[in-house]
Point group: C2
Chain length 353, copies 2
């Protein structure tokens, strides 16, 4: 079977720890996925990148095409400034490569606000969507729950939350392979009388729109990790805090585990046997680098946002996610879903008038 | 050394699983704290409670005084209805016992909204505070971080967030024994330009008020479990979702641990040795019942809110928290802090005019 090689456009200058993160990430993902035919279009400063690439594995060298850029977006740049000043930067050019059809997906660890703003300008929004949302795929005992928005939009109206529901549902179908994903709206209580005005209005809008999807209603914070619904919708302020709180909690539990495993001689013996059979798998699950990468939804193009502070292992996870979605049809699924929303709204306004 | 026995006023009808939860909770806490001289004023339906108390341990029977009530607040009651109709209920009478000086602290697992509303009417707010906040003491590697509000106020203005900071700081000093607790404001990014209008305005208000306490500025979700600051301030919507997300994450990790400990024979041998030395301690830390209980702040009286769905073990934790704070001077600390805020505001308006 032949397979078209996905081409990943990499903004190599965005990570807090410098361009080595991107090059190491490529080496790691090629080790993790030895069968992948993926190629990498690496955007950034040639003077810094060329020696890093020269020192990389033979396979990484073969798969990388370096594209020099003179400038880069800094972590402190405001989004509006970044849009005006960053033409020709590694972030801009990485996005332009997807726009021009040279690559399938962008991966960047750069400034989130700037990435959002430049993506909007370069790739443009899908019809019916106001701003991109960032989705995170949260591991649960049942698979993955897609949570959005996790940080792109700190203030969201009810209409935007409905858009997130539509996009998240399409994303779950396309990327996690479910046929009828369930959608929940994050709130402080499951009873309908609880919650703030925005989520209550969004709940009514989703019910009124009569979109043909499985809407569960309100869910609470602990339902995310339980995997109660396949998609959890929230504003970017709450979603970002929920995601980071979960990350911090995982780190805390890992700390307690280490403490408990070294608290006595018998515990150390136990940990020794566990290391032989089963603990590595757990350790990998507890490693925040193993769940790195948020996907920007609502754009005419696929963009993966990596944590800024990640290392090569974490960046590899974001690249792996990019390779995964490159083969999916999530853009067309989102479009189809948005059309269903528009039709539902048109039908409703005809009935109302 | 003689010690005044704290008297805990118990709303025995609030738990989802019925009045046995309260009676079992009292038995458990007396086993956990064999030295405590605490006594319990138990409010509820005598027909249901008398047989449960008769079947309890001799020590529990000796420490319980049953106070019959004819009615109870239901989980579905709206707060405004509850205030009008619940005079004489177990919740109302449990609060009135503190108001009348018969008890030191109330513990209830009942309807949160009703508990807030009835507390306001029965105990009244402290001068300068608009509505009560619920604080949770979050375990961290460094001790405890007090997070508030975790569910009492779903929409908060900047001024309210400043009140939470003031109350949380006083609570941490009084209950967790720190001399100069640090205070952080929960946000999506540590840079000042990030976040929504409310948190940015609250940040300015705290800085402008020049209250003599250690204000750290913005913190992110993962900083809570790290214990970066002693107090984390947020609105009740975000705080409730953060708290429940952390609870769900702990459950998920515990699930993965069980999976890993039974994944192979060597893993099972390891888990066996770990069970002998160290794992119990970890298991207790991962048990959500071991961190049950939020304290309502801003009232002229001490109120502990237990999870509605808890069992006897979890209710015992909430009772233990009640016994802890009964001996603290947090009400006077909060008053002193609120006076500092008022003075700072007066001084500022004099300078401004």
């Amino acid at each position: 079977m032949t397979q078209t090689a996905p081409i990943i456009s990499v903004d190599a200058m965005g990570a807090d720890n410098g361009p080595s993160v991107a090059v190491e990430g490529i080496s790691h993902i090629l080790t993790r996925l030895p069968e992948t035919p993926a190629r990498f279009l690496v955007h950034g400063d040639e003077a810094q990148l060329a020696p890093l690439i020269a020192a990389a594995s033979p396979l990484a060298r073969e798969r990388i095409t370096l594209q020099h850029t003179d400038s880069e977006v800094r972590m402190t740049d405001k989004p509006s400034e970044a849009v005006r000043r960053s033409r020709g930067s590694s972030m801009w050019n990485a996005l332009a490569a997807v726009k021009n059809g040279e690559a399938d997906v962008v991966v960047s660890a750069g400034n989130t606000g700037a990435l959002m703003a430049i993506s909007k300008v370069v790739l443009r929004m899908k019809k019916g969507v106001h701003r991109p949302a960032i989705s995170a795929s949260w591991p649960t005992p049942r698979g993955h729950t897609v949570v959005l928005d996790v940080g792109a939009n700190v203030e969201c109206g009810p209409k935007q939350l409905v858009e997130f529901a539509i996009m998240g549902e399409a994303f779950h179908r396309a990327v996690h392979g479910s046929t009828h994903p369930t959608v929940g709206l994050l709130n402080v209580g499951q009873e309908e009388l609880k919650g703030n005005d925005t989520v209550r209005a969004a709940d009514r809008l989703i019910r009124d729109a009569k979109i043909d999807f499985k809407y569960h209603g309100f869910v609470e914070g602990d339902d995310i990790s339980l995997g109660l619904t396949d998609v959890v919708v929230t504003d970017g302020f709450t979603g970002n805090i929920a995601l980071k709180t979960a990350e911090g909690t995982v780190k805390l539990v890992a700390h307690w585990m280490r403490e408990s495993f070294t608290s006595s001689l018998t515990a150390k013996i136990g940990a020794f046997f566990l290391n032989m059979g089963g603990l590595d798998h757990l350790r990998a699950k507890l490693d925040p680098r193993s769940i790195n990468g948020g996907v920007l939804l609502g754009l005419n193009g696929m963009v993966v946002k990596s944590h800024g502070g990640t290392d090569g292992e974490g960046f590899a996870t974001a690249l792996g996610l990019g390779i995964d979605i490159a083969g999916s049809h999530f853009l067309t699924e989102i479009e189809a879903n948005l059309e269903r929303l528009t039709r539902a709204e048109e039908a409703k306004s005809e009935t109302d008038s």
